[in-house]
C-alpha cells in the first residue's frame, strides 16, 4: 500500500542544496524580521543619539556653542557650522562609531559645534544678516577664546557653508586657518530642483512669509519630501530587507528619529535666504552686503577644501564646486565623493569615503 502511494505521487522536481540553504537562511531572517518588527511596534525604544561627551561653552538666545574635547594632537581647533533650521545637528553625532564628531575628536581635533537651536515666532525678525553678523561672530569668538588657540579652522556644512563664508569674508579679523565647504551651495544658479521651485516667477516669497510668519516645520518637511518622493518607500523597503540585522535596526531607529524632526525657519530669515541666495544668486556674484560690509568670496585666501556629493539633489556638486573659482586661495582642493546630501557626512559610507579624507586634509594643515 505504502509503495503504491509513492508510485501514485507525481515526480517532485529536484531541489538543489543551494536552494535549500537559501530557504533555510531566508526562514531564519524572516523569523528575525518578525521579532524585530514586533519589538519596534510593541516596545519602541527611544534611540540614544549624540553619544560623544560635550560641554556647553556659550548660549545666545536659542543658539548654543558646544565643545567636544579631544586629546588635541592638532593645534588648530575646528568650528563646525551646520544649517540653520530644517533639521537638528545631532545627525553629526548620531551614534557610537557612526559619528562625524566622534571621528574628528578621535583624530585629535578639538571640535566646536554651533547649534543654531530651534527658533520660535518671537524670532521671526531674525534675518540671514543677523545670523551672520550677530550670532556667528560672537559664537566663533567664544570658541576661539575657549580653545586658547590663535587660529581656528571652520567647516560649513549645507547652508552653514554660505553662512560661514559670509561671516568670514565680512570679518577679516577672525583668525581663519583653514576653510571647508561640505555640500554647501555657493552658485545658486546650479542648485537644481529647489532653485527651479523657488524661482521668482513661480514662488512669491513675500506673500509666503507675510501669510505664514514662521515657516512651519511641516512646510519644510513637505519641501524636502517632495524633492525625493520615493525616499520613504525605499527607506521602508530597505528596512524590511535588513530588519533581521539588529545593527541595522539600531541605526535605522536613530536616523529615522532625526529624519522626522524637521525645524521651522524664522520668517525673515527665509525671505532673505530665498530672495538673495536662491532667486538673485548674490553670493557668487559678489553682490551681497552684510552688516554694511560687502561679501566677497575672494577674501578667503586660506587653504580651502570643497566637498561635493555625487548624488546630492539639495546642493548638487556643480553649485558647491563654484567656491573653487570664487576664493583666492592657492592651496585649494575639490573632492567629489559618493553619496547624497546626508550620506556624505552621516552613515556607514561617510565613515569610509568622507571622514578620513577630511581629517587627513585638515591634519596636514592644523
Amino acid at each position: 500500500m505504502k509503495d503504491q502511494l509513492f508510485t501514485m505521487m507525481p515526480e517532485m522536481p529536484a531541489v538543489s542544496a543551494e536552494v535549500i540553504a537559501r530557504l533555510d537562511e531566508d526562514t531564519r531572517r524572516n523569523f528575525l524580521r518578525m521579532k524585530h518588527w514586533s519589538e519596534m511596534m510593541m516596545n519602541p525604544k527611544e534611540p540614544e543619539v549624540g553619544p560623544t561627551p560635550r560641554e556647553e561653552i556659550y548660549r545666545k538666545n536659542k543658539s548654543r556653542l558646544w565643545r567636544y574635547a579631544s586629546k588635541r594632537t592638532h593645534r588648530t581647533p575646528l568650528l563646525f557650522v551646520p544649517n540653520l533650521g530644517i533639521s537638528r545637528p545631532y545627525i553629526f553625532d548620531l551614534m557610537p562609531k557612526g559619528s562625524f564628531i566622534e571621528h574628528m575628536t578621535q583624530q585629535g581635533f578639538d571640535f566646536y559645534l554651533l547649534d543654531w537651536g530651534v527658533f520660535g515666532p518671537e524670532d521671526n525678525g531674525l534675518t540671514v544678516e543677523d545670523a551672520v553678523t550677530k550670532i556667528l561672530p560672537r559664537l566663533a569668538r567664544k570658541a576661539l577664546e575657549s580653545s586658547g588657540a590663535s587660529e581656528m579652522s571652520v567647516l560649513g556644512y549645507c547652508m552653514g557653508a554660505p553662512l560661514s563664508a559670509c561671516f568670514l569674508t565680512t570679518h577679516p579679523e577672525f583668525p581663519l586657518k583653514n576653510y571647508i565647504d561640505m555640500a554647501g551651495p555657493i552658485d545658486f544658479s546650479q542648485v537644481g530642483m529647489f532653485g527651479q521651485w523657488l524661482d521668482a516667477r513661480y514662488f512669491d516669497v513675500d506673500k509666503y512669509v507675510d501669510t505664514l510668519g514662521t515657516i512651519p516645520a511641516d512646510m519644510v518637511k513637505l519641501g524636502f519630501k517632495l524633492l525625493k518622493p520615493t525616499m520613504d518607500l525605499s527607506t521602508n523597503v530597505n528596512l524590511w530587507w535588513n530588519l533581521w540585522n539588529p545593527e541595522y535596526v539600531a541605526g535605522f531607529n536613530a536616523l529615522n528619529k532625526w529624519a522626522n524632526e524637521y525645524l521651522p525657519f524664522p520668517g525673515e530669515f527665509f525671505r532673505q535666504w530665498v530672495k538673495e541666495f536662491y532667486q538673485q544668486n548674490k553670493l557668487v556674484k559678489g553682490e551681497l552686503v552684510m552688516g554694511g560690509r560687502p561679501v566677497k568670496l575672494s577674501a578667503i585666501a586660506c587653504p580651502v577644501l570643497v566637498v561635493g556629493a555625487k548624488e546630492d539633489n539639495i546642493a548638487p556638486p556643480a553649485c558647491v564646486k563654484a567656491l573653487m573659482d570664487a576664493v583666492s586661495s592657492t592651496d585649494k582642493e575639490y573632492l567629489e565623493l559618493p553619496g547624497g546630501h546626508i550620506s556624505l557626512i552621516a552613515g556607514r559610507g561617510a565613515s569610509t569615503h568622507c571622514w578620513p579624507k577630511v581629517a587627513a586634509w585638515l591634519a596636514a594643515r592644523s
Binding site: S16, E18, V19, A21, R22, D26, K60, N61, G120, P121, E122, D123, N124, G125, K134, R138, G192, M193, Q196, W197, D199, R201, Y202, F203, D204, K207, Y208, T211, L212, L226, K228, P229, T230, L233, S234, V237, W241, N313
Partner: protein, 173 residues
C-alpha cells in the same frame, strides 16, 4: 546579495518605464488635465508585463527573495527617475507655484480669523493673547541682544585698557 540572473528582465523593465515616462512627460508638457486611467496606464502595463514574464520564466536562481528585492529597488529607482524628470520641469514649478498661491489665498484669511477669535477668547478670560506673549518674548530677545552689545563694548574697553597699561609700563621701563 541578489544574483544577476534576472538582469535581462530588469533591463526590459527599465526600458519600458523610460518609454512610459517619456509619454507621461509629454502629457504633462501639453498642460492637459491628466486622465487618471491614461495617466497610470503605461506604468500598470509595464508592471503587468514584467511580472507576467517573471512568472512564466520561473525563478532564475535560488535567491528568490534577493531577486524580488532587486526588482523592487529597480522599480523604485525607475519611479524616482521618472518623478524627478517630471518635477524638474518648468510646468511642474509653475503648477506648484499656483498651488501654493491658492493655498496662501485660502489659509491666510482662515489663519487670521482663527487668531482673532482665539485672541478675543483669551481677552474675555483676562489672559494675554498669543501675539502679546510673542511680543514679550521678542522683547526679551532684543534685550539679550542689547546686553550682548554692552558686553562687546566692555570687552573692547577692557582690551584697550590692557593694551594701554602695557604701553604705559613699557614706557616707564
Amino acid at each position: 546579495m541578489a544574483e544577476t540572473g534576472g538582469q535581462p528582465l530588469f533591463d526590459l523593465w527599465k526600458k519600458q518605464v523610460e518609454e512610459g515616462s517619456q509619454a507621461w512627460l509629454r502629457t504633462l508638457g501639453q498642460g492637459q488635465p491628466a486622465d487618471p486611467q491614461s495617466f497610470w496606464r503605461p506604468f500598470m502595463d509595464q508592471g503587468m508585463a514584467a511580472w507576467s514574464k517573471l512568472m512564466t520564466q520561473g525563478p532564475p536562481s535560488a535567491d528568490l527573495m534577493g531577486q524580488w528585492k532587486q526588482f523592487l529597488d529597480q522599480w523604485i529607482a525607475a519611479w524616482s527617475k521618472v518623478l524627478e524628470q517630471a518635477m524638474g520641469t518648468e510646468t511642474f514649478a509653475q503648477a506648484m507655484g499656483k498651488q501654493m498661491e491658492s493655498f496662501l489665498n485660502t489659509s491666510g484669511p482662515v489663519k487670521k480669523a482663527a487668531e482673532q477669535q482665539i485672541d478675543a477668547g483669551l481677552a474675555g478670560l483676562g489672559l494675554p493673547s498669543r501675539s502679546q506673549v510673542i511680543g514679550v518674548a521678542a522683547q526679551i530677545v532684543q534685550l539679550e541682544d542689547k546686553v550682548d552689545g554692552l558686553e562687546d563694548r566692555l570687552d573692547a574697553v577692557a582690551k584697550e585698557l590692557r593694551e594701554l597699561t602695557a604701553a604705559v609700563k613699557a614706557a616707564r621701563a
